[in-house]
């Protein structure tokens, strides 16, 4: 009796699917007018960063004289880019990338090598004003593929009261001109560890993600070591060099001596359990907003006693132009506009991040707090870009694994043997 009813349901379901399958996406972004550009960004419209972007885009659409019009799609990322990057991957595999996109610094080489993005050097004005670390980060095989629109930095936070109670005087504190050597640093850590009967510093060693290479590679660079050679073709002879080994030895000894720990208490510095914390600029906001009773300062990276060279981490997200876009003039104009001084200033201030242009730094200096000023200065004086490698994710992961292995000092007491093995591991990811 009611057989027809079921038949209808099934037929309707089947038909709708078939019909939908038949009409392939009619949304062709290319074609008609090449003045409308679309852009994907990895943050939400509701973040401070997103709000600044909305203002910047409004300004672009109003101020540019060629009649270009930009539309932005806000795609919030998870963790270290997941979600957003999955979406980029999916778009790539179905040929539906936007004209302009954002990408994290370490992705430059892979994206450029796979011809996802195209060189954009000729569209960018006032390049000499951009920080060298930002240019390095966006350059692959001698061509500029991406422009970083902000910088980042890491410093050594210290608890003023805990330092004072441990008998460490102001005069003993390091400055950018006279940073601690690892030996001096260890002596201070020893003092703190003995005074507080526990680890002195949270080195974020429980974070096995990108944070490892980002924050700890400066130890390697300070020692004069490296992860690969300059061309990015050899790790053997570089990652296992005596200089690189000395950096990993330092990290291992910090754990071995109990100065730091592989399993830090959560927010231990913020709640006054650790005297020091190695962390990025974002911790400033957190401390100022949520942990007002902690009086803190930021110290520079400790340096290798051999070279005494100050090196600090850099790098952040950047703008790039997809290789598939035909609207190069409009896309180039948009990227140039967004990475120009006024827009960059707005973004950096809204998001409390380090700026990527010298002129913007100068303008920000008088308007930010002392810890922020310190990080901006450290960044300008000692910033070192991460290596630009096609298989960066694998290299970054191997670096993090090497750190983990070094910190398990009982299992891996012989740093030299460990580094030889890990260098070979990295080698297989280089071409």
């Amino acid at each position: 009796m009611k057989k027809w009813k079921l038949g209808m349901i099934v037929a309707a379901a089947a038909l709708s699917v078939v019909a939908l399958a038949g009409c392939t996406a009619g949304k062709s972004s290319s074609g008609a007018d090449d003045k409308n550009v679309t852009m994907w960004v990895h943050f939400s419209k509701e973040d401070p960063e997103g709000k600044a972007m909305v203002q910047n885009i409004t300004a672009f659409n109003k101020e540019n004289k060629k009649g270009y019009k930009a539309t932005v799609q806000y795609i919030p990322r998870s963790g270290s880019g997941g979600g957003y990057e999955d979406k980029i991957n999916a778009a790539l595999n179905s040929n539906s990338l936007p004209d302009v996109l954002t990408l994290d610094g370490p992705n430059t080489a892979a994206y450029a090598d796979s011809k996802i993005i195209q060189p954009l050097g000729k569209y960018i004005t006032k390049k000499s004003d951009i920080l060298p670390s930002i240019i390095d980060q966006g350059t692959y095989k001698g061509k500029l593929y991406a422009v970083g629109y902000s910088e980042s930095g890491v410093g050594f936070y210290y608890n003023k009261k805990m330092f004072k109670d441990a008998g460490i005087t102001e005069a003993e504190l390091p400055t950018l001109d006279k940073p601690w050597t690892w030996d001096q640093f260890n002596a201070i850590l020893k003092k703190l560890t003995e005074k507080y009967q526990g680890p002195a510093i949270d080195m974020q060693l429980s974070d096995h993600s990108e944070m490892a290479i980002y924050s700890l590679a400066p130890f390697v660079w300070s020692a004069g070591g490296n992860i690969t050679n300059k061309a990015g073709t050899k790790a053997v002879g570089y990652f296992d060099s005596a200089a690189t080994q000395s950096a990993f030895k330092e990290i291992q000894d910090m754990v071995k001596n109990g100065y730091t720990t592989i399993s830090p208490k959560q927010k231990g510095f913020q709640t006054g359990k650790y005297a020091m914390l190695m962390s990025g600029s974002w911790t400033i906001q957190e401390l100022d907003k949520q942990y007002k009773d902690i009086s803190y300062g930021i110290l520079p990276y400790p340096v290798s006693p051999k070279t005494k060279k100050l090196v600090s981490p850099t790098g952040s997200w950047q703008y790039a132009m997809s290789a598939s876009t035909t609207k190069t003039a409009a896309s180039g104009a948009l990227i140039d506009f967004l990475s120009a001084k006024a827009q960059m200033y707005r973004t950096s201030m809204a998001n409390t991040v380090l700026p990527a242009r010298k002129s913007v730094s100068d303008e920000m200096m008088s308007k930010v707090t002392e810890p922020m000023r310190f990080l901006i200065k450290q960044n300008q004086e000692s910033g070192h870009a991460r290596p630009v490698l096609v298989k960066y994710p694998q290299v970054s992961r191997t670096f993090a694994e090497t750190v983990t292995k070094a910190t398990y000092y009982k299992e891996n007491p012989d740093i030299s043997a460990l580094m030889k093995k890990q260098a070979q591991e990295i080698q297989q990811y280089l071409k």
Binding site: M1, K2, K3, K5, L6, V17, L20, A21, C23, T24, A25, G26, F43, S44, K45, E46, D47, Q73, Y74, I75, P76, R77, S78, G79, G82, G83, Y84, D86, K87, N89, A90, N93, S94, S96, Q266, K267, Q270, T271, G280, W282, T283, Q285, E286, K289, Q290, Y291, D293
Partner: protein, 285 residues
């Protein structure tokens, strides 16, 4: 025998206490989440070592602070509505599609049935995480990108739910069908009027599980949707939890907002289930 009664009562009390303790072992994250959403972030980490971690602060006026900050940051309401819409669509669709298939596999004998069902079980082994790009290519070629259909369609049919419904229908004797057929009922009427009402436990279970699955999905909606007005709540959660600096009290606040509907759905389905059983236990079986 009063002695016997005392013993029974003591037994009940002891077992209830033990079960309550057991329940607390499972419940503590929920309590911690709720309590932490009503504290300043610093207090969360200061309290974490002891019993205070599970008690709200004394300052009642500050309980809503994290929620206020959260609402000023995000338009949580739209995300919530989207999530509810996707969740309900997936739940209803999944109950219909999977129960139909379960009925087909259980009460019909057709060529290739065993093989097809075996194949279906084999599909269970495919880890969803590994075929997401391929799935995206299909959805794109269907032309439903950036529509709610792209979120809903792929989550409707599930081998496991078909399996569950088949199991339930298998337990219902064929006599029921035959006697209904003698009275002139069609197979669809039997499904709709007899089978489905008898499968209430399965409906409640599949409903609860598919709602939760849809509610917690993050990567897929983000992948197929570009218009941020269509994003589900998970996208906002992930964003709040990953944009430095992360404020734990706000994270806990949005997680509380996102968990409450799940609890409501669960309680609702469970209640409905018990009532339904009361009816079926007396007569229909």
């Amino acid at each position: 025998m009063p002695n016997h009664n005392y013993k029974k009562m003591a037994n009940t009390i002891i077992s209830t206490i033990l079960i309550t303790l057991l329940a607390l072992l499972f419940l503590f994250p929920l309590v911690w989440m709720l309590v932490s959403s009503m504290k300043p972030e610093a207090a969360i980490y200061k309290d974490i070592g002891g019993i205070k971690a599970f008690l709200p602060s004394f300052d009642i006026g500050s309980w809503g602070t994290a929620y206020r900050e959260l609402l000023s940051r995000f338009n949580v309401f739209i995300y919530l509505l989207n999530s509810i819409f996707y969740g309900l669509s997936v739940t209803i669709g999944s109950i219909i599609v999977n129960s139909l298939a379960g009925y087909g596999f259980s009460k019909f004998r057709f060529r290739g049935r065993k093989m097809l069902f075996g194949l279906l079980l084999a599909l269970l082994v495919i880890p969803g995480e590994t075929i997401i790009i391929q799935k995206f290519q299909i959805v794109r070629s269907m032309g439903i990108l950036n529509t709610p259909l792209a979120v809903i369609f792929p989550s409707l049919a599930a081998p496991f739910y078909i399996y569950m419904f088949k199991n339930f229908f298998d337990a219902i004797s064929d006599d029921v069908i035959e006697s209904a057929q003698l009275e002139g009922a069609s197979m669809f009427t039997i499904y709709w009027r007899i089978m489905l009402p008898m499968a209430k436990p399965a409906i409640a279970t599949v409903g609860t599980l598919s709602f939760i699955g849809s509610w917690n999905d993050y990567i897929w909606p983000l992948m197929v949707l570009t218009d941020s007005n269509r994003f589900p709540l998970q996208v906002a959660i992930t964003n709040i939890n990953n944009t430095q600096p992360v404020y734990m009290n706000q994270v806990m606040a949005i997680l509380t907002i996102s968990t409450i509907p799940l609890i409501i759905v669960y309680v609702f389905f469970q209640k409905y289930l018990v009532q339904g059983l009361g009816a079926s236990g007396t007569g229909e079986k």
